[in-house]
């Protein structure tokens, strides 16, 4: 995507950008002063206002030429700081608002300040609003240092969410997250300082006109990319993600998994596509996508071996993050620049559909956990009868995620597959298909346990408020119907792609991932299935028994590898290696 020409004036409606940051931040300050008793009221006032602002931006953007600009303090860059919104920003602002809204409804019953012990609600609502403000800043900031401040805001809002319930293991997970995220911040800041030293500006639009292939820029880009990868938890820099996302309360997990990791991913997209589209080179992009492929393999295989549902979803997030990085090599044109808008649109759509689907799935799992008192996958039999709406929300979220038409994931996959054909990179087509199959595998695995009949009646230990299930369900349906929305006014996606979703070949395209996914679930999951005693199962096992044993051994090998990679020493060395490899491949390309 070509950088927009530096616009030096505030556009009409630009004040909406200021409001989208100021409203959540004002909510944070107000909630902090008013304290435990009113914190939820403040949040329930801010959330609808913020939602309205996001949709106002969405409406206004196509009418003002696809760009909104606001000069803070009326100082034009490079001296001042500009806020800029384009189609990507508008889409992410709206997605964030919708997900935050659903999570707020979901959490309203969980984090109700009761009497004296109001620590968790106080922290949760303030941090929720802070995450919103931070993400909105990330989506519209036009300056690399403002982006750094927003990243800090995001990290400091996200980390305490992990340890909200105060157990020792979640404290450990939060500390791990904090240390690794700060390491990422330092790398990003170092690169920013280098860029200022080279060009005397940090404004994205101005930089995009000034950068050239100095070795300094490439080193800065490598450092910043590595820092952002650490914050996004791309394999093999994922040591903090599984314990943090699985240990947090359900509403917090939904936010962390759906939105927080997308913040640093979005900055990476800005850096590569807007600041320096001509510089990173194909080799570095292939490296990113290779790490993404590693994430899909490790995340999915380890997810299939989890005993606890929340950990399964957390590892699925790891795999889905990998999926986001496949767009980088596909966006390269013949000139060696990142110029394919369609690949970018595909990657961003994938981020949006994962945000909605994964938030819905975490919320559904939270309801199941609250209802059953546990989230062991093998103990899920009969839960579909006891908590039908929760299971339905999980199923629809899962179906949307695995790319069934007309979900956003299927549209994104379609766009990316077309790009693999255009650029002749067939190997990423294989990874894309395999990723879809793996996603299907763990969704099918969970559903096959949840839908199986149970011998004993299920005893619910906790309440299952309808509002929570409905919030999850609406979000899951959003994800499922994302493909039908008119994307072409915001994302450079061809509008006819959506109409192809319902063809005859669509069915055949669906069959492959579903069958492959079911086979993968049978081959890679070590847990006894509720139907395991049936005659058909035994007959099947006689045929595929040796193959399954081999696959299980492969799975345990991958799991052990994942354990090693999540050690501090291994993760630290991976961090250094990734930054050196990125720097070397960028230097080689220029």
């Amino acid at each position: 995507m070509l950088p927009p020409a530096p616009a030096l004036v505030t556009t009409a409606g630009g004040f909406l950008l200021v409001l989208s940051i100021v409203v959540p931040v004002a909510g944070v300050l107000l909630a902090f002063v008013l304290g435990e008793r009113y914190v939820r009221q403040v949040a329930s006032t801010v959330v609808p206002v913020g939602l309205a602002i996001a949709f106002a931006v969405l409406v206004l953007l196509p009418r003002s030429d696809g760009h909104l600009v606001y000069l803070l303090g009326a100082w034009p860059p490079p001296l001042g700081v500009a806020l800029r919104a384009d189609g990507l920003s508008a889409v992410m602002l709206a997605t964030t608002a919708v997900v935050i809204c659903a999570v707020a409804i979901f959490a309203a019953t969980d984090f109700r300040p009761q009497s004296v012990e109001a620590r968790a609600p106080f922290a949760f609502w303030i941090l929720l609003l802070a995450i919103w403000g931070a993400l909105n800043t990330i989506f519209i900031a036009g300056d690399l240092f403002t982006l750094y401040v927003a990243l800090e805001l995001l990290t400091f809002a996200a980390v305490p969410l992990v340890s909200l319930d105060g157990r020792a293991e979640t404290l450990r997970a939060a500390l791990r997250y904090l240390l690794f995220a700060l390491l990422g911040s330092v790398l990003y800041l170092m690169g920013t300082a280098l860029l200022y030293g080279l060009y005397g500006t940090l404004d994205i639009a101005l930089l995009s006109h000034r950068v050239n292939a100095d070795s300094g820029v490439l080193i800065a880009a490598a450092l910043m990319t590595t820092g952002l990868l650490a914050k996004t938890a791309l394999f093999p820099l994922h040591l903090w993600l599984p314990p943090a996302h699985a240990g947090a309360p359900a509403a917090a997990s939904a936010i962390l998994s759906a939105l927080v990791v997308k913040g640093s991913f979005f900055i990476l997209v800005r850096l590569w596509f807007d600041v320096m589209p001509g510089l990173p080179g194909l080799a570095a992009a292939q490296l990113l996508a290779a790490l993404g492929a590693g994430a899909i393999l490790f995340g999915s295989v380890v997810a299939l071996r989890q005993e606890r549902l929340k950990l399964l979803i957390a590892y699925s997030t790891l795999a889905q993050i990998g999926y986001l990085f496949l767009m980088f090599p596909l966006a390269f044109g013949a000139s060696g620049k990142l110029e394919s808008d369609q690949a970018l649109a595909g990657g961003l759509l994938q981020a949006v559909s994962h945000a909605t689907a994964k938030a819905a799935m975490f919320m559904a799992v939270g309801s199941i956990y609250a209802g059953l008192g546990h989230d062991r996958i093998t103990g899920l039999c009969g839960v579909a009868r006891a908590l039908p709406l929760s299971v339905l929300a999980f199923a629809i979220g899962g179906i949307a995620l695995m790319g069934v038409q007309p979900s956003g994931a299927s549209f994104a996959k379609e766009l990316l597959l077309q790009e693999t054909a255009r650029t002749g990179q067939w190997w990423w087509a294989i990874v894309l298909q395999a990723g879809g199959m793996f996603t299907t595998a763990y969704v099918v695995l969970v559903l096959s346990h949840a839908l199986a009949p149970s011998d004993q009646p299920i005893v619910l230990v906790g309440p299952a408020p309808l509002s929570r299930d409905l919030a999850a369900l609406v979000l899951a349906l959003c994800s499922l119907f994302l493909g039908l929305l008119p994307w072409d006014s915001y994302l450079p996606a061809p509008s006819d792609a959506a109409s192809k979703l319902f063809g005859i070949d669509a069915l055949s395209k669906l069959l492959l991932p579903v069958l492959g996914g079911a086979a993968l679930a049978i081959l890679l999951s070590p847990w006894p299935h509720p139907l395991g005693s049936s005659a058909a199962w035994k007959a099947l096992m006689r045929v595929v028994g040796p193959l399954r044993r081999g696959c299980l051994r492969f799975g345990s090998l991958i799991e052990r590898g994942d354990e090693v990679l999540r050690q501090w020493s291994a993760a630290g060395i991976s961090l250094l290696l990734v930054s050196l490899l990125l720097a070397a491949s960028m230097l080689a390309a220029n």
Partner: protein, 314 residues
């Protein structure tokens, strides 16, 4: 080679040596002491680079308050440290060292290749100083040209407080942070805590006031005030305030709150969000800075005090 160059070379060598020592020494307490000394010497380097604002901040945070925090952590770790198993193997250490060294080398080469003279916005900052009526360029950047960043940074500080407080147990929520300090009322700590704060408070306020035209400002002044407050707390002369206190909450949001309010005033009545009318720019900025001074001093003090541990009554 004149005397200044000799001094600079010696300074750089000592800083490098301290850095290596801090990494290499196995004992946490010694590493902490090394790190504090390192922070203070790095502040000297900033002075030599004519970045006095940065030097003040580095000395206050890197050497002073950060040092207190690390010393407290090292004291807590001392009991468990002896029991920990040995660290990573030699191969892991060696490869980490090699990789780090190559990244450091790449950075060094990059910095040596930076354009000279460096492209800079400093002349533009000086040329536009008339808009605020202040001549300290750093203050102008922080408060006017990049006011949004500064405001959001203050929100980050508030979130750090929320994060630290969220570590409290549910029973202690709303109570006073940290342990109740006891010190000999006739001892040297209590003596210092009575002697230093009057002078320290004046110094802190002076640093804020002079920040309009000379190096200094709300952050550096706030750090001085915070250290004075911590001194009296550690001497047991006063107790930390309960986190339930409405006054405390108000002070903690005063800085970003006033900043935001002035910014919104600019959005509604002025030319833009965070734009100051030229006639009132200096008084507006100064009042924001006064509010930020209070917020920063209280925030830094409370960050060091820790999570609420005791109910307010005791």
């Amino acid at each position: 080679m004149n005397i200044a160059t000799v001094f600079e070379i010696a300074l750089a060598a000592v800083v490098l040596g301290l850095a290596i020592w801090t990494i290499a020494v196995p004992d946490t307490y010694s590493a902490t002491v090394g790190f504090i000394a390192y922070g203070l010497l790095v502040a000297l380097i900033w002075v030599r680079l004519d970045a006095v604002d940065v030097a003040l901040t580095e000395a206050a945070i890197g050497g002073g308050l950060g040092g207190v925090l690390l010393l407290g952590a090292a004291a807590r770790l001392r009991d468990t440290e002896a029991m920990t198993t040995e660290g990573p193997s030699l191969i892991v250490r060696l490869s980490a060292a090699i990789l780090s060294a190559s990244i450091a080398a790449a950075l060094a080469v990059t910095i040596l290749l930076l354009p000279d003279p460096a492209p800079t916005l400093a002349p533009a900052v000086v040329a536009n100083a008339g808009a605020t009526g202040m001549t300290n360029p750093v203050t102008n950047v922080l408060m006017a040209f990049r006011g949004m960043d500064t405001m959001l940074e203050k929100v980050v500080l508030l979130l750090a407080i929320v994060g630290v407080w969220s570590l409290a147990s549910d029973q202690a929520w709303g109570g006073r942070p940290g342990p109740r300090h006891q010190a000999d009322p006739n001892g040297v700590l209590a003596f210092l805590a009575r002697l230093l704060p009057p002078a320290g408070i004046v110094v802190g306020i002076y640093i804020l006031w002079t920040g309009a035209d000379h190096p200094g400002g709300a952050f550096q002044g706030g750090a001085v005030l915070a250290s004075m407050w911590l001194l009296v707390i550690m001497a047991g002369l006063v107790d930390t305030p309960p986190v339930r206190s409405r006054w405390l909450r108000l002070i903690l949001v005063a800085g970003p709150g006033l900043f935001l309010a002035v910014g919104l005033g600019g959005l509604c009545f002025g030319s833009a969000f965070l734009a100051y009318p030229v006639a009132f720019a200096k008084p507006l900025i100064l009042s924001i800075e006064v509010a930020m001074l209070l917020t920063i001093a209280t925030t830094l003090g409370l960050l060091l005090a820790g999570a609420p541990e005791r109910s307010a009554e005791r």
